[in-house]
Symmetry: C2
């Protein structure tokens, strides 16, 4: 059972006549047969709750100055037209009561809390965004993570791993960015992809793919076909091989064997799911992968990877510091890219041996 | 004075032991010296408000089944670490009290209500999105509309007209889309731009620009230079002229004079601000502009315009219907484009004479 939560806020430009304002609204709540409880705020203005039928609740704050707020909650199945009419009536009444004393009126789109289809997936930099998600296509826990594939009206299916938006079927700009933005010629080259269980990169090129979570591959093969095409239907094709294994031992084996690649594309999720058993911190794990990746890179080879949100400048600076501490000296460039379903700009890195 | 509003929601998989759950939480509120008021919900489960110092308020709903919700409000200037610790304590306690009966825990990024810098600008299809806006650069009312220019960490300055995000300094994809995505050769051509007061298109090409709101031009000239460059510094350049006038009489004059253009780019705001005095509905106004624009288009000319959010399929269908009702028969194509600061995909149209 979900809850719809409406907010309506008035920024005041001068002190309000608190009793008159409150009195003007009370009649509206009485008409709705809502029961008022006035709370003692120890001088922080008028604060009351109004309880109505069917779990309806209004919280009304009328401070002497500053910000007047209304919260209106109703349960799923309540009459939405009635509820929105109540809010319209309150807004109209307040606009008239506070006439000349209003700096800003803000009414946000209602929050839907606890709904079967969760539309709120915050950005990496912690902002609230509501997606146009209309159904859950796939929702399973693997041994490693929660794997959701949800349908968005505009983006098609979206892969969400442990609450992080990973890739949507509209996110070709992500795949292009992590493959060097069309400036590379992959023909006849040997490419190592770490992660990329969604098959997006593999579908764009490819030779060899290393990934550990078979269930991500299974979910994407069925539900993200606009991103992965048919490449995940078979784990081995004419010119590629998908290894469903931990990439660290595989990389170590390549280093031992002296096996090298023209391109290494690190498409592991931005924050590693688990750092065990190799190292005890996320950053040390990242460093380990990075070091091994550069070791299997041919002298003229390129290493491509995603960074993080363009806004997480501290995180990005830490990563760039790491690039200076590899066993082999490297140079790097970075690019800021708009990935449609991310709702934030994303940084991608190209790294090469000095 | 702003209000921070936290939410914490638990979806339950089975009926909860309501009295035990409530009892387990009450001690936490007592420690915080918050005063409990239990409300009569007529059988809709436990609902209580807790009032603390400094205007702190908690609303707790513990229904017999379905969704347990917590709202926590605190005023600007309250100790945020303390407030978030309280929420952490409540979450931890509930995870233990409801152990084995939790389908989902959702804690959204806190809403900041009534802040000096408003970060919430809903999409055209009505979804809640929080921008990374950190300051107000410009905020003025012209005779026609409210003009805001706000600074976003990732997008640079954003032009917001009457609450609608119009263009950010990162939105070159918008300008490219409304100019035909680099497939047109503008050299030596005559181009008529309607709207476009932000100067983005003019900076990319141009000959002549018709716009009515001098204040948008003034604000953008100063604060949107990454979008408009220096083209708005003078209203007349070697190969362009900016007319700060209502575009309808100008278009009518061109029709009378038989003046024609190779390209007409309609960059008026998506929904006209006012339809007066020409016609009495927004759609009739759009139709008027469209009809006049096609009339001044050379036989091989192209008319470019933005449509609306890709999700507003009904609105787009209405517009396409209009295209079939012009005095001169036309064909059209459309393209869906990701405009970085829009947080939603946007449809652009190309229209030409049959």
């Amino acid at each position: 059972m979900a809850l719809r939560h409406y907010t309506l806020d008035f920024n005041l430009s001068a002190p309000a006549d608190c009793p008159t304002t409150v009195h003007g609204l009370q009649s509206i709540f009485q008409e709705q047969e809502m029961t008022e409880t006035v709370h003692d705020t120890e001088g922080h203005g008028y604060l009351a709750t109004f309880i109505g039928k069917n779990g309806r609740l209004v919280v009304l704050r009328v401070p002497a100055h500053g910000l007047l707020t209304i919260d209106l909650q109703c349960c799923e199945g309540d009459n939405i037209v009635q509820v929105e009419n109540l809010l319209n009536t309150l807004e109209k009444k307040l606009r008239s009561l506070l006439h000349g004393n209003i700096k800003r009126v803000k009414r946000l789109p209602a929050l839907t809390r606890g709904a079967a289809v969760d539309r709120y997936w915050p950005t990496a930099d912690g902002r609230l965004v509501e997606y146009d998600i209309d159904r859950v296509v796939y929702d399973e826990d693997s041994a490693y993570q929660n794997i959701k594939i949800m349908h968005s009206q505009q983006f098609g299916n979206i892969l969400i791993l442990n609450g992080d938006v990973n890739l949507s079927e509209s996110d070709l700009p992500y795949t292009q960015a992590i493959m060097g933005r069309g400036k590379e010629n992959y023909a006849g080259k040997e490419v190592l992809i770490l992660g990329g269980g969604d098959g997006g990169i593999l579908a764009e090129a490819v030779k060899l793919n290393v990934y550990i979570d078979q269930m991500v591959i299974d979910g994407c093969r069925t539900h993200m076909r606009k991103a992965c095409g048919s490449v995940l239907d078979n784990l081995k094709g004419e010119c590629y091989q998908v290894l469903v294994e931990d990439c660290v031992p595989v990389l170590k084996k390549y280093v031992e064997e002296g096996k090298m690649f023209d391109y290494v594309i690190n498409d592991l999720t931005a924050v590693p799911i688990s750092t065990a058993p190799e190292e005890d911190s996320t950053w040390e794990f990242l460093q380990l992968i990075l070091d091994l990746s550069i070791k299997v890179l041919r002298p003229a080879g390129k290493y491509f990877t995603q960074g993080n949100s363009a806004n997480l400048t501290d995180t990005l600076a830490l990563y760039e510091e790491q690039l200076g501490r590899l066993s082999c000296p490297v140079d790097f460039s970075k690019e800021v890219v708009c990935v449609p379903s991310y709702m934030e700009l994303w940084v991608f890195y190209t790294v090469w041996k000095k």
